[in-house]
Symmetry: C2
Subunit: 281 residues, 2 copies
C-alpha cells in the first residue's frame, strides 16, 4: 500500500487555467489585475522569489511591477512608497518581499499595507478576520493547502486535525482554517510533549516546522492525510520536506510530495487573491 | 479528595486594590481613566450589565459615562457617536453593549471603535494581534482566565489544554492565549467526535459551550485544572455552569465555581484594560 500523492503542481496548473479565464473576464470589463512587489536590497533568495512571482503574473495576464529600493532606504521612505501604492488604483495587490534591512521595522511595514490589498494575508486585520471566522485575505500557504484538501475531496468536518508548527504565516492560520471547516484541531509545536503520540491522533496532519525528515512513520495514523510544508536542504543540497516521505508514504493515505506539493500552491494563491481583489473593485 | 476552588471573586478583589492604586497614580499625573458605554434600547439584561460596569468603574475611580440611545437609532447615527468618542481624549475605553437592534450591523459597529480604545478586545485588529502573538487588547473573559491560572501558579508550558467551544469572544482567543504560553492546545466543539475522550487528555480544560451541567466526570483527567465559563439557568432559575460541579470536583485538581469563578473576572479585565489604555496616552 502506498499513499496517494497530492500534487500541488497539478492543481496549480488547473488553477492557472481558471485564473486565466478570470483575468480575461476582468479585461473585458476594462480591469487588469495589478500586483506590485516591493523589493529592498539585493538578497539572492528574495531576487529569485520576486522573479518567479513576476513570471507567474505575466503568464496569467496580471500586470506586475517590481519596485526595487536600495538597502539604505529609510523606514519613512518605504512607508511613503506603500502609501502611494495603497492609493494607486492600478494595483490590487501589494507585496513587500521579506526580509527587510535592519533599520526598518517589518511589522510596521506589513501593517501599513492597505488590508484590502494585502494579498499575502499577513496583515493583522486579515489575521483577525480569520480568527473571527470571516476571512478576507488569507495567508497563501495554508489557503493553498485547503485548496489541495478540497481538490482531493478530503472530508474535514468532525475529523481530528493536528498542526505541528505555530508560525504566523503557516501554522496558526492553518489551524483556524481547519477549525472553520469543523475539524477538531490540535496546535502542536516544539514544546509539545509526546509529539509522535499527538500526531498519531490526526486524520489530517499538517507539518510546518522546518526540520528535514523530522516526521517518521511513528507519527502517522494509518490512512491519514499528511501535508508536508517543509522546504529544507539535506547535506547534498537536495530539497527535502519535514516528513520522511519514503517510510511515511507506506502508512499514510495521502501525502504531499516535496517538491511539487504545497510549494507551488503558495504563489498560486498569491495570484488568486490578487485577481479576486481586482474583481471587488 | 476534592478540587481546589479557584475563586474569581477573591482575585477580582485583589485586582481591585491593585487597580485603585493604578488609578490614583494616574490621577497624580492629571489623568483620569475614562470609559464610555453605549447602550441602545431597553434590553433588561443589558441594563443590568451596564449598571454593574458603571458601579465597578465608580468604585475604582474610573470616570464612566453611560450614553443611552433609543431603539430607533440608525446605524449612521450610532457610527457618528462612536467616531465622536474615538476622538474624545477623555475616554480611553469605548464599549458598545450588545445586542444591538436589527437595523444595525453589529460587526460594522464593533469595527468602527478605535482599536486602541477597544477595551472589550473584540475588534478584528486586536484579534489579529492576538493570533500573531503580539496582543494589545484581549477579550476579557479569556484574559481573566489567564489571570486566574497565573494566580494559582498553574503550569501551562508543555501541558495539554483543551478548549471546548469556539466562540469569538471566549473559545478562540482562549486557545491562542494558552498557545502563547506554550501549551499544546486542542480546539473542540459541537462537531467534535468522542468529546469526553478528547477532554480527558487535558491537563487544563476550559469549557465554554453554554449547556448546563454538560461536562461530567467522564470528561475529566484526574487532577486536571477545570475552568467553567458557563452561565446557565436550571429549571428552578438557579445559576449553573457548563460543568457538573459536584461530581467533577471529586476528580479535578482545580475547579472554578459558578457563580464566583470566571464571571467576576470578565468585568475586572474590562476595567483593567481601560486603566492600561489610559496609562498609554
Amino acid at each position: 500500500m502506498s499513499a496517494i500523492m497530492m500534487s500541488g503542481k497539478a492543481l496549480a496548473e488547473e488553477m492557472n487555467s481558471e485564473m486565466l479565464e478570470m483575468v480575461n473576464n476582468l479585461k473585458t470589463k476594462g480591469i487588469t489585475p495589478g500586483l506590485v512587489v516591493l523589493l529592498v536590497g539585493e538578497d539572492q533568495a528574495s531576487q529569485t522569489y520576486v522573479r518567479n512571482k513576476a513570471k507567474r503574473a505575466e503568464k496569467l495576464g496580471v500586470h506586475s511591477l517590481v519596485k526595487r529600493y536600495p538597502n539604505t532606504i529609510t523606514e519613512e521612505e518605504l512607508l511613503n512608497e506603500i502609501d502611494r501604492f495603497n492609493r494607486d488604483a492600478d494595483f490590487h495587490g501589494i507585496l513587500v518581499q521579506l526580509p527587510l534591512p535592519k533599520q526598518i521595522n517589518a511589522e510596521k511595514v506589513v501593517n501599513a499595507v492597505d488590508s484590502k490589498k494585502d494579498v499575502d494575508g499577513f496583515h493583522p486585520l486579515n489575521m483577525g478576520k480569520l480568527l473571527i471566522g470571516k476571512p478576507d485575505k488569507i495567508a497563501c500557504t495554508p489557503y493553498g493547502i485547503m485548496k489541495l484538501l478540497k481538490r482531493h475531496q478530503i472530508e474535514i468536518a468532525g475529523k481530528t486535525a493536528v498542526v505541528i508548527g505555530r508560525s504566523t504565516i503557516v501554522g496558526k492560520p492553518m489551524a483556524q482554517l481547519l477549525l472553520m471547516n469543523d475539524a477538531t484541531v490540535t496546535m502542536a509545536h516544539s514544546k509539545t510533549q509526546n509529539l509522535a503520540e499527538v500526531a498519531r491522533t490526526a486524520d489530517i496532519l499538517v507539518v510546518a516546522i522546518g526540520r528535514g525528515n523530522f516526521v517518521t512513520k511513528e507519527f502517522i495514523k494509518p490512512g491519514a492525510v499528511v501535508i508536508d510544508v517543509g522546504m529544507n536542504r539535506d547535506a547534498d543540497g537536495k530539497l527535502i520536506g519535514d516528513i520522511k516521505a519514503d517510510e511515511v508514504a507506506k502508512v499514510a493515505g495521502y501525502l504531499t510530495p516535496v517538491p511539487g506539493g504545497v510549494g507551488p500552491m503558495t504563489i498560486t494563491m498569491l495570484m488568486y487573491q490578487t485577481i479576486e481583489s481586482a474583481k471587488r473593485i
